[in-house]
Structures are given as C-alpha cells and as structure tokens.
C-alpha cells in the first residue's frame, strides 16, 4: 500500500526551505518567490492527486517509511496517514497556504530578509503537514513543536524590534507549557497502551466502557487538552497569541489564524475516542472553550489595533471550536476550523492590505473612509465581515450554527452564552469595519490599492468566505470519522443566533456611524470595568507578578547567590583554603617543561602502583 508517495506532500515545502534557506541570500527575490510558491503549490497539487487516487477514504490510508526510534517496548515509526479528517486539514493547509504564499510575494516585496521569510514559511508548511499526516502521537508532536518553532522565528522576524523578540519568546515558552501536558499525556499513553500509533491506541480505548473508564484516561485527555490549550490559545494559555501579531501580517493569517492555532482542535478531534471516554475531560474542554470565547470577545470589543481586534477574535473563535469538541460535536468543530480559515485568513490579509496601503498604520483611530480609496480591499473584507458575523448563507453561519445547536443539545445555557458571544463577534468586526472604511479619513498617509498579486488571493478567499460553508459540507464528509450527534434542527434556535449577529452589526452601526460620540459616553460610564477589559484583564501583569518575576528573582537571589555560591561553595572553599596552599605548591610544578610534566605523570602512576603493592601484601 506504499503507493501514494504521501511523503512528497511535506517533502516539497521542506525542499523549498532547504534551497531558499541555504542559497536564497544570493538569489534574486523573484527566484526565491518562485521556489517558495511552487513548492507549496506542488504540495497542494499532490494532495489533490492523492485524494483523487484514494477515492472515498472510508478507512485511513497508512504508509510506513522507517522505524524512527526502537528501544525496548518503545517503537515509533515514521508513518504518514490520510483519513477524511486529515484530508480536510490537508486541503485547508495547502490550499490556504498556497494563497498566502502568493499574497506574501506582494506584501513582503519591500522588506529585508525576503529569502529568510519564505524559507521559514516553507519550513512551517513542512511541519504543519507532518502534524496533520503523522500516524502516531510522536510524529504529530514533531509537527507540533516544529510549527511552534516556525511561529517563533516568524513572530521574531523583525529582529531589530525588541517587542518582536519578546513576543516570539513568549509564544515559544507558553507553548512549551502546553507541550509539557501533551508530552506527559504521550508518556502515559505509552505506559498504558504500549504504543503511540493512533490506530492501536484508539482500538484499545474503544471497547472500554465509558461509565467505568479508569481515571488514567481522564488524566490523558486532560493533559492532551493542556497541550491543545497552549497551541490553540485557550484560557489560561492564550496570552501569547495577541502578542504574536508582531510578526508580518501573512504570518498572522497563515499561522496565527488559519492553520497552526487550529492544531489543538485537530489534535482534540484526532484523539476524540480518548476524550469521549472521559465525560469530565469533555466538560473541561467545553467550559474552557466557552470562557475563552467570551473573555476574548469582550477584549476584542475595546481594542484599537486592527490586528489585535482580529487576534482576540481568533482566540474567541478557537474557543467556539473547543465548545464544539467539548459537547461532542467534533465534526462541527472541524467545520468551523475550515470556515474560520477562510474568513479569518481573509480578515488578516485584508487588514494587511489596509496596513500596506497606509504604509504600516495599524491604529483604527487613524483610519476611516477607506472604502472609496481602496475599494477592492473593502469589497473582499466585506465578504469576510458577513461570513464571521454569521449572516446566512455565508461560511461562518453554517459552522457556527452547527456548534450552537450541538451546544444547546448538550446544555441550553451554553447555547445562550454562545449566542451572546456571536453578537459580540458581529459587533467588534463591524466596529473595525466602520472605523476603517466609513466616515472620513483621519490619518496622514496616502492610501494606495494593493497590487494584483495581493488582491488576487484575497478574491479567492472572498469567494470561499461567501460560498465555502454552503459548498463544503464538512460534517457530512466526516461522518465515517465522527458519527453525527443526534438532535433535531430547531429553526427557532437558528433565528435567534442570526438575530444576535444582526443586533451586533446594528449596535456597531449605531455607535460608530450614526452617533459617533456614543462609544466614549459608554466607556466613560463603565469606568473601571472598561479599563479592566481594555487592559485585557491585566492577565499579563498578573502572570509576571506571580510566576515570571518570582522565578527569576528566586533563582538569582536564593538558588544561585545564596545556595550555590554561598552554601555549597562555602563548604568547598573551606576545604580549598587548605587546598590553596597545595595549589601554590602545584604551581611550582607548572614549569612549562613538558618532560617534567610527563615525569610527574609517570611518577604518580608508580606511586599508586607501589601503594597498591604494599596494600595487597607486598610484591611477591
């Protein structure tokens, strides 16, 4: 069955990375772009070819290449697999990835480090594809850590900016905290099931009865979710994602909106069998998702940096996806991964186009009235707008609908919180749109429309945002992987959630178009609450004060200066006072005459031998 050459899918971007990374510095930009874009397009083409050849994919297609690690009971293969879940992810990753690569050719054309950017972007594709194709937990983890590395490199891409370096490091370290959970889960799986292969593990878990599941499965599921929460920016580990916007905008679109941050959702869905065996873990997933969705949405209401608004929006939407997973509607979660990839990539790339047009301006307060100046950008962003706001029949409507219905089936209060969040979502996106494109221009730059290489991909994404939800019936396609959750399609519930979106848009219109003074009045009236939300609940400050600073200060003050240098070395140096006299003597031996050194070495040996002879009863 080793006949589809699945390895080519990740290998092509890897080749692009190696070529551009090693020699790109000497290449002209055009050659760098051709290599980078062609490698990803080639990968996309190979995905299409493979999926065509594999037919309906009722069962996973696995290819084994080599044994990676073999030690006692630990046997890890380099095995790639494609099933329907992976197929969906592959299409999203390579499809959106191709579009964003093309867009970046235009966006990055004036930036230094052009080859470096594309090398990292290609490397990201390699790891992301490994992540979704790996047939065991460890290979998934390879991709998982690898995309984290690329995220680190690309957030810190503007190496001269200290804030970029800080953000990059924060992203990596916070993700490491998540990976801590993920890796512990893997070790437990290995101890418990003797393998990390998805097939073997899940087959072993499936027959276990849910009501008497050993606690170990709950532990595994919760630890896996710690990993997912790190990668997919859930409370309390979401803090790195807003800062990650320091990276170039195509990176924000590809890595921090469309693909990498959804890896946690993918992993949860992949391990669905384990999660389903632990009602407790499922509740935790849903609750954390819900808290994240609400909390991030409230912060999104108040931000002025256009990318920050969309970043908090991403956190919030990822929360939605985990609500879906937590209530057992894994296919709805993946559905939202797909539609979100369309409209959020578009939002970010569109925002990039705005920023590009304004020569780097990101503050919404310095925008306004751009609809006439950059009409194409406005038109495509409008498509993303209606999609995320849940207006039927556009992409976001379908997936959000699935999630909310599933949530209602699980617990009606979750539905209602979800509906309120949907209203807030519609509000903050509309707010950003009104502040950016309506009213009069408040900035000082001369806006210019982006070139075709940039708006071309945007147009494709716009079409996907409009029609993608209706056209790609993801939950239906995923039925062999995730049996459809029971429950009926309640029309009323759909109307309510749509109404919430419309109300959100209407409120934004009222506040930012009709009565522009209203936002200030409201924020003034809310006073401290507004401040709390505007400052993101001071979560970063709390983390610094309770974890980071005590750790650094304690390590420096107590562990190093007192314990290491004071106590241990104090004891040693006490001995050394005696030794220093000896050392003085030894220094005399250091004559620089090599023969005398050699003589000492020999003499030392002889002395030891003699001593030995004496102790063992003399030389016979």
């Amino acid at each position: 069955m080793n006949d589809q050459q699945l390895w080519l899918i990740p290998a092509l971007p890897l080749a692009g990375f190696l070529i551009n990374g090693l020699f790109g510095k000497k290449f002209p930009n055009i050659l760098v772009s051709i290599i980078a874009v062609a490698s990803v397009l080639g990968s996309f083409a190979w995905v299409l070819k493979t999926l065509g050849a594999l037919g309906d994919l009722e069962h996973a297609h696995v290819e084994h290449y080599l044994t990676w690690i073999q030690s006692g009971p630990v046997n890890i293969g380099v095995d790639l697999a494609v099933d329907r879940l992976t197929a969906v992810m592959l299409l999203v990753v390579t499809g959106i990835g191709s579009l964003i690569h093309i867009y970046a050719v235009g966006y990055m054309s004036h930036e230094g480090g052009y080859y470096r950017f594309f090398a990292y972007l290609n490397l990201f594709m390699f790891f992301m594809l490994t992540l979704v194709m790996g047939a065991n937990f460890l290979l998934l983890f390879v991709g998982w850590e690898g995309v984290g590395l690329c995220s680190y490199l690309l957030i810190g891409f503007y190496i001269l900016k200290k804030s970029a370096g800080d953000a990059a490091k924060k992203a990596f370290v916070v993700n490491r905290v998540g990976d801590f959970g993920f890796s512990l889960a893997m070790f437990l799986i290995m101890v418990q099931f003797g393998s990390l292969d998805f097939q073997k593990v899940f087959e072993a878990v499936k027959p276990l009865p849910v009501d008497q599941t050993p606690g170990i499965l709950t532990a595994i599921a919760l630890l896996l979710f710690v990993g997912a929460a790190g990668k997919s920016a859930q409370v309390p580990l979401y803090v790195w994602l807003p800062d990650a916007m320091e990276g170039p905008t195509p990176v924000s679109a590809l890595i921090h909106a469309a693909t990498m941050v959804t890896a946690g959702v993918y992993m949860t869905a992949r391990a669905a069998v384990i999660f389903q065996h632990s009602p407790l873990a499922m509740d935790v997933v849903a609750t954390v998702g819900l808290i994240t969705a609400v909390m991030a949405a409230t912060i999104g209401l108040t931000q002025y940096d256009i990318k920050k608004v969309f970043a908090y929006s991403t956190v919030s939407q990822l929360g939605y996806m985990f609500i879906a997973c937590g209530v057992g509607a894994f296919s709805a979660g993946i559905y939202h991964v797909v539609t979100h990839a369309f409209f959020k990539a578009l939002l970010f790339l569109g925002a990039g186009s705005v920023i590009h047009a304004l020569s780097g301006e990101q503050d919404l307060r310095h925008m306004g009235g751009l609809a006439k100046k950059i009409p194409i950008t406005f038109a495509v962003l409008a498509c993303a707008w209606v999609a995320i706001a849940g207006v039927p029949p556009f992409a976001g409507f379908f997936s959000k609908d699935e999630i909310l219905l599933a949530a209602h089936h699980h617990a009606p209060w979750m539905y209602w919180v979800g509906v309120i969040t949907a209203g807030m979502t519609a509000f903050y996106v509309s707010r950003a749109m009104f502040m950016c494109f309506f009213g009069s221009y408040r900035g000082h730059h001369h806006p210019h429309e982006s070139p075709f290489v940039m708006w071309g991909p945007l147009a494709v994404l716009a079409v996907l945002s409009l029609a993608g939800g209706w056209y790609f019936k993801v939950p239906h396609y995923l039925e062999p992987v995730f049996p459809v959750a029971e429950g009926h399609h309640d029309e009323t519930l759909v109307y309510i959630s749509v109404a919430a979106g419309v109300i959100g848009i209407g409120l934004a219109a009222l506040m930012y178009l009709i009565k522009p003074g209203l936002p200030d009045t409201i924020s003034g009236a809310l006073g401290p609450i507004y401040k709390l939300v505007y400052n993101k609940y001071f979560v970063d400050e709390v983390y610094d004060a309770t974890i980071v600073n005590p750790m650094v200060a304690g390590s420096r003050g107590v562990l190093w200066r007192i314990f290491d240098a004071g106590i241990i070395d104090g004891i040693v140096n006490g001995t050394a006072v005696v030794a220093r006299t000896v050392g003085g003597g030894l220094r005399l031996l250091q004559s620089g005459n090599i023969r005398s050194y050699a003589a000492w070495v020999t003499l030392g040996c002889v002395v030891v031998l003699l001593a030995l002879g004496v102790m063992s009863g003399g030389v016979k």
Partner: protein
C-alpha cells in the same frame, strides 16, 4: 596489534612526538596534531563496523598481562556502550584543535601535547576492561585537563583548576580504595571476571559491604557527572578554561562519570544501586530543575551553558536509574547528544569570545545583523539543546522521560519542567545576544563565522540532524549493550523488578501486539 590498540596508542605516540617537535614552529605543531587527530578519527570509524552487523558483544578485545602481581591486565575492547563515546572523543579532539588554531598562541607545543594526552586518556577510560587500567586512564585524563585550565585559562584559572583537581581527586581516592578492597576479595581487577563472578553468585557481599563499595564508586563518578550538589566545580572550570578545554570537558569528560555509572555501578553492585536509586533520582531531579533555574539568571554565557549541563546531565542520571531499556538507552543517547550540542555551544561561545574578549551577555546584542551565519549556527545548536524534535536531544530526552514514566509519572513530570525551562534560558540568551539593535562596541569586531570555524561546526550540525532523524545508526548497538547491562543489574534481585518493568508488556497482551507498526 588490532585497530583499537592502534587508535589508543596513536594519541600517546602523538603526545610524545609533539614533545620533540621544535618549540618555535607553531604551525607545524598545529598541523601535525590536527592531521594526526583526524587520522585517529578516521581509524576509529573502523571500530564501528562490527556493530552494524550485529549490535552485540565486545569487539577488538586485547587481553594480555600487564603487571604480574597484583594481577593487572591490559584488557581493552569496545561494546555498544563505549563505541560511540570513543568516536565522540576522537571527533571532538580534532575539532578542538581546529577551534584553538588562532586562539592558542602561547605554549603551543604543550597545549597540543596535552590535547593528545587527554584524547589518549579519554579513549582509554572508555575501552578499559580492567578496573585498575581504567583507574590509570581516569587519572591520566585529570592531568592534561588540570593544565589546560591552569595554563591557558582566564583570570581565575588557578582557583578553577585547583577546585577541579581537588573535587575530582576526592572522588577518585575513594574509588581506588574501593577497587583495592574489591581486588582483595575477588583477587582480580578484571571487569568481565568480576561481573561473571557476581552473576554466578561466586562473589557476593554483605548488604553494608556492597553499599559502601557502591557509594565509593558512585561518588567518584557523580562528582564527574556532576550530580547536584557536587556540581560547583563545573561552572568555574568552564568559565576559566580555554574554549578547547570547555569543549572537551563538557562534551567528553563529563561522560566519564555517566558512562562509568552505567558500566560499573549497575552490574557490579546491583542491589545497592537499586536501593539507592530513589535517592539518586531525587538528586537528579533537583539538578534538572535547579540547574535550569540557575542557568536562567546567569550573566555570563559560559556559566549559563555550564549550569545547563547540570540540568541536562540530570536527565542522564534519571534515565540510568529508571532501570529499564528505554530509560537506559535514552541516558546513553543523551550522553552523546549532550556532547555534541553542548560541545557546539561552548565552541560558538568561544568564537564570540575571540572576537570581543567578553563572555558577559549584556556586552552582546544584535549579533545576528553583523554575523548572520554565526547566529544561524548558534540558533540550530540552541534548538538542538532545548530538545526540538528532528534534532538529537529530543530522542534522548524522550526516551529518558518515557523510561522514567514506567517507574513514576511524578518523576517524569518534574523532569519535564526542565524541558520547559531549557526553552526559557536558551531563548532568552539567544534574544539578548543575537536579536535587537547591534550593540555599539560590537561594530567592527563581530565578523561572521569564517571557513575554519565553519569546518569545525559543520560536523556537529550534521550529527544533530542525523542523530535526531536516523537513530538506526546508533541506537541498536547501544540498546544491545544496555540490554546486557540491565540483565546483569538484576543479579540477586527478586522478580518484583521484572514485574514492575513488564507492566506494559502485560497490558499489551490484551491489546493487539506486533513489532512492526501498521501496514506496509
């Protein structure tokens, strides 16, 4: 004379020959020792060939009497445990010589003579099968390193050298005493004989006897590792040592300790080793977290890397004392990994020192702008060191943590904290030294990596990727040797150990098993 003897004798011959070379012809001495050490490296590669045919057994064995009474034999050989450490020694010696090409300009002759003597001692330690012979090599290593630090080191070199010497001597004296006791009891220094006697029950100790012997050996090795809280000689030795000294010290000499624990402590004193295991593991865990936390706040780059070694070597000890295949394999793999990535880190820090004559992190900043390739090499090494998958350290850490998880998931969780922290201190170092605006007084000094330096770095970079992706080259032979040692370490131990180790195996019987995963 078989290949192993040749590989062992050539550095000694080189040491003697270097001494008679004309003192003032520095280039000749450099060239001679480089070519010789490269030749030794190439020859030593030949030693690996039997391990690709069958991972098992001792190879290139020579066993002849050396001293009649007490009976000391020249008994040397390599097995899967030692072969890669021998290669590590023969690889890092020419690299260290290449690194010192410009850096060492006084007493060139003595420097290179000591490098070759050190290589001789290191190889000897790893191939000796006679306890006394082992001890001789152990002490031979001490002398050149003492002088490398004391003569070619920085300002506080004498303090550091004496500290290094005394720490190590304190341990080895105890070890010698234990060896002699062992000889009096068994009437042999021969390792294989001793193990054989113990396995067949012909040689047995009382509980106290065994415990004291174990502790005497273990202490000597633990100082060398170094195991918390015996580590404070290490930061000083590293900071004061010249680059080549730091590389050899970190990459190979520390492995004398970890190697010897696996080689001697486990098979010779199995009960005592298992009894002490929980306590030793606690020290290892403290070392992992403590070393990482202290590394985090170091203002000096070499000290930072030195403390990170304390953390990394805690993993080796943890894996060793998990007493199972995965843990032990991971421990040995991690010995090699640490040699490569930490050796590379000290090398790169040395390159930076040669340019700026400072090791303080705050004196750097923005190095990546004037020296992009140096930064790239440093970044890859950093990533290897923090255990990024597809690079070498990941494999070792994974196996060690997995091995410990079979015993206690709490151990694993604590050790995994070290993995988080390693990202903190290394990436923070990278950010402060390499990112941001270029520090004013670096301008004009901070040129990019040159071809000689690149030639020294590339073999290590290749190994990082190789060992991280294609473990088949190294792991099977290591595994085979470890399986034997594990078997030996069960002598006189009741079956409860087996029961614990085979927990997984039993669970597997209900689930579908099979050696080959998936469909092919």
């Amino acid at each position: 004379m078989n290949l192993l003897n040749l590989v062992l004798v050539l550095p000694l011959a080189g040491f003697l020959l270097t001494m008679i070379l004309p003192k003032n012809n520095a280039s000749l001495i450099r060239l001679f020792s480089l070519v010789l050490s490269l030749a030794i490296f190439v020859l030593s590669l030949g030693l690996t060939s039997p391990f690709f045919q069958s991972g098992n057994g001792n190879w290139f064995v020579t066993d002849v009497p050396w001293i009649q009474s007490p009976e000391i034999r020249y008994h040397v050989g390599v097995d899967g445990l030692s072969i890669w450490l021998v290669i590590l020694s023969t690889l890092l010696t020419p690299i260290s010589i290449l690194v010192s090409w410009k850096h060492i300009d006084k007493r060139v002759k003595e420097f290179h003579a000591f490098m070759l003597l050190l290589e001789f001692g290191l190889i000897g330690v790893f191939v000796a099968w006679d306890l006394f012979l082992f001890y001789v090599f152990w002490e031979v290593c001490l002398v050149p390193m003492y002088f490398l630090i004391g003569v070619w080191g920085h300002e506080r070199r004498i303090y550091a050298a004496v500290k290094f010497f005394l720490y190590t001597m304190a341990g080895s004296v105890l070890m010698l005493a234990a060896m002699i006791y062992l000889y009096n009891k068994a009437n042999t220094f021969d390792y294989t004989n001793l193990v054989d006697l113990i396995q067949r029950g012909r040689l047995s100790f009382t509980g106290l006897e065994q415990m004291l012997l174990f502790l005497a050996f273990f202490l000597a090795f633990a100082i060398k590792v170094p195991l918390f809280p015996l580590h404070t000689w290490l930061p000083d030795a590293h900071v004061e040592a010249p680059t080549a000294g730091s590389i050899m010290l970190a990459a190979v000499m520390l492995k004398m300790g970890t190697y010897s624990i696996v080689r001697f402590c486990l098979p010779l004193f199995p009960q005592a080793a298992r009894e002490c295991a929980p306590w030793i593991v606690i020290l290892a865990l403290i070392g992992i977290v403590y070393g990482a936390l202290v590394a985090l706040v170091q203002p000096n780059m070499k000290k930072l890397v030195a403390y990170s070694s304390v953390s990394h070597l805690g993993f080796v000890i943890l894996g060793t004392f998990s007493f199972n295949q995965a843990g032990l394999d991971g421990a040995v793999y991690q010995m090699l990994n640490h040699g490569i990535s930490t050796g590379a880190l000290f090398m790169l820090v040395g390159f930076m020192y040669e340019r700026t004559h400072t090791l303080e992190i705050k004196d750097y900043g923005g190095v990546s702008t004037p020296a992009p390739w140096l930064s790239t090499v440093f970044l890859i090494t950093t990533l290897a060191s923090i255990g990024l998958p597809t690079l070498n350290n990941f494999i070792g850490e994974f196996l060690v943590l997995q091995g410990s998880a079979y015993v206690s998931i709490t151990w694993t969780a604590i050790a995994a904290l070290g993995v988080i922290l390693s990202a903190c201190y290394m990436l923070w170092l990278y950010q402060r030294a390499f990112m941001g605006e270029t520090n004013e007084h670096l301008k004009g000094h901070m040129h990019d990596i040159n071809p000689r330096e690149l030639a020294a770095a590339i073999p290590l970079l290749i190994l990082m990727v190789w060992m991280g992706t294609y473990t088949k080259t190294f792991l099977p032979s290591i595994s085979a040797a470890n399986a034997r040692i594990l078997e030996q370490s069960k002598a006189g131990i009741e079956m409860k150990v087996d029961a614990q180790n085979n927990k997984t195996a039993r669970l597997n019987q209900s689930a579908p098993t099979g050696d080959q995963p998936n469909v092919r």
